[in-house]
């Protein structure tokens, strides 16, 4: 199998140049060196920009490289991916309107600002921030790996994995350092549009018409019947578990929370959500079908790694006809867009948490905002250098990294979802829940039980976490005489 050759290099090169230009243009609009301007674009994201930055951030290298691989591996049961991406949107409804209102009044910048405001416990905020950093650093690592996979896969190995990781990471670092959230949101706008164009190209190339899909389904029924069969109860249990895991965890990505903060007004937020609700069907649904088609399409290739499915598919299409070659180039740019748009958002979020919430409250306590902003930029470069080092020696698949990240995030989710929607939740109960859930998750992993009863260890831990939150809150109420303030808050 040959690569897509020089055309792919030129297409990606043009795209990277355009993205850098957009990043520099965004820099000209900055109004100050404040944290709010750098990390939230001055809280002025309009509906369309907010929609596309949420979209481009949510659909990542995992979506375009990892998910087709899972569909290839599992068959039709990967239709669960459409549902769990939808579950994220529904989970937003549990807390986003309340969080947005409070964030506007109190000028929040990081997720930690909400935790400090809601719970008033430095210990809780620190533990939650450490978990958030661990989870999204993991996520960033997944994007860096995806950069390498797509480069190596599409060039047939001519451009090595490590060059893809280093080059694309460098571009992200440059435009993010010069323009902050404004550059990230603007590039996300371009990247989101490229993603839509690329998906259209993918659908034209894959042609999942009912007739074609029927032929694929019948072929699968003959050659790999387990990939067509109705899932058994054990798979369904795992399906429910995945809905809960991704639904709750995906809704509390720090970078998504910061986009809620950055919305210009309620109307912008509401309008962007009202369109986002259709994106799982359009995006994940299309990717799912392409992954299933790949099972038949790549049947002659022999055993392949899940993460190599999309690059191989694009390469094969690219050698079939000039039209498919052109469409493949579009998809390549879309894939690179999806990876970079997630990487930049995650990196910006990590930088804000480390600079403002961790360094800004310890060694840089009392520092001016401009200094914290500069520190955040420096932290980004140091952090990425470390992660690039890890990405160059990957020992886990993209989906594996996704699950790990989600299971850590799940233990923080109650602080946002329960915290915003349930006034009774007490600080000590929330802290106890998070610590218990995280400890249980670590024990289950350490004892070789990542999925007891086909339920993710992170979901088992989340259930215990929530149970502790609820029971400790009620026990705490029973043990203390309610004050006037407590009576008011629980009314």
């Amino acid at each position: 199998m040959t690569s897509l050759g020089g055309g792919a290099v030129v297409a990606v090169g043009l795209y990277l140049t355009a993205i850098l230009a957009v990043g520099y243009a965004a820099r000209r609009l900055r109004t100050s060196e404040s944290l709010a301007d750098f990390y939230l674009a001055g809280r002025q994201l309009s509906g369309p920009v907010l929609l596309l930055t949420l979209y481009a951030t949510q659909y990542s290298g995992n979506s375009l490289i990892g998910y087709p691989g899972e569909a290839y591996r599992l068959g039709f049961s990967w239709v669960m991916s459409v549902g769990f991406m939808m579950a994220i949107i529904v989970s937003y409804l549990l807390y986003a309107p309340q969080l947005y209102a409070v964030a506007r009044r109190h000028h929040f910048i990081t997720p930690g600002d909400w935790l400090t405001h809601r719970f008033g416990s430095p210990a809780l905020t620190l533990v939650a921030n450490l978990l958030l950093v661990a989870a999204i650093a993991n996520y960033l690592l997944a994007q860096l790996m995806a950069m390498g996979h797509i480069t190596a896969g599409l060039s047939g190995g001519a451009v090595p994995y490590w060059i893809g990781v280093v080059l694309l990471t460098l571009v992200v670092l440059v435009y993010e350092t010069v323009g902050g959230m404004r550059a990230v949101a603007w590039t996300d706008l371009v990247q989101g549009l490229m993603l839509i164009v690329g998906l259209t190209g993918l659908l034209i190339a894959a042609a999942p018409t009912p007739t074609h899909m029927a032929a694929v389904t019948e072929w699968l029924a003959r050659e790999a019947p387990e990939k067509v069969a109705v899932p058994g109860w054990d798979v369904c249990r795992n399906w429910f578990s995945t809905l809960a895991l991704i639904g709750f965890s995906g809704a509390v990505y720090p970078q998504a929370i910061q986009r809620i903060y950055a919305a210009r007004d309620t109307t912008a937020l509401r309008r962007s959500f009202s369109i986002m609700v259709f994106m799982p069907m359009v995006t994940t649904g299309s990717i799912f079908l392409v992954g299933v088609i790949a099972i038949e399409r790549l049947a002659g290739v022999g055993p392949i790694e899940a993460d190599q499915v999309m690059p191989l598919l694009l390469t094969e299409w690219g050698t079939s006809s000039p039209l498919l070659y052109a469409l493949s180039l579009l998809v390549i740019v879309a894939v690179v867009s999806a990876i970079m748009s997630t990487a930049d958002s995650v990196l910006l979020s990590l930088s804000s948490i480390l600079a403002k919430d961790i360094l800004g409250k310890t060694v840089l306590a009392g520092a001016e905002e401009a200094r914290l902003t500069r520190t955040g930029k420096l932290v980004s470069w140091v952090l990425v250098a470390t992660l690039v080092g890890i990405a160059l020696n990957p020992r886990i698949t993209l989906w594996g990294l996704t699950e790990l990240k989600m299971e850590i995030l799940a233990q923080v989710a109650p602080l946002f979802i329960l915290g915003a929607s349930w006034n009774k939740l007490k600080t000590r109960a929330a802290l106890a829940g998070m610590l218990t859930g995280t400890t249980l998750y670590a024990i289950l992993l350490a004892t070789g039980q990542p999925e007891p009863w086909n339920i993710h260890a992170g979901v088992v831990a989340l259930m215990v976490n929530v149970a502790v939150c609820v029971s400790a809150t009620y026990l705490g109420q029973a043990e203390t005489v309610p004050s006037a303030g407590q009576a008011r808050s629980t009314a």
């Binding site: 549902g83 529904v90 309107p97 405001h117 109705v230 309620t266 109307t267 509401r270």
Partner: protein, 85 residues
């Protein structure tokens, strides 16, 4: 802050009845209720249980679009102390 929804449509939270609807729709998207040994039936090119799952998820999309437009809450102001404990 601008908002085009009339004031009388601003609740504090989404109405509680929407959550059982979500549970039902998500439960419908997982084919636990279809026997594992059911014969293969192909609807619009896909196994029938896949079409049912996608249909339920589309239901979630349409339902969410409706409630976002109709019931998006605008929480009332609360003091810091109220929010904390």
């Amino acid at each position: 802050m601008t908002d085009s929804v009339p004031p009388d449509q601003h609740p504090e939270h989404f109405p509680r009845w929407i959550w059982p609807v979500y549970v039902a729709l998500f439960a419908g998207s997982v084919p636990w209720y279809i026997p594992a040994d059911a014969p293969l039936r192909i609807w619009i090119g896909l196994p029938h249980w896949v079409v049912i799952s996608l249909g339920s998820t589309l239901g979630v999309s349409v339902f969410t679009w409706f409630i976002v437009h109709r019931f998006w809450p605008t929480p009332a102001d609360r003091t810091d102390e109220d929010a904390r404990r």
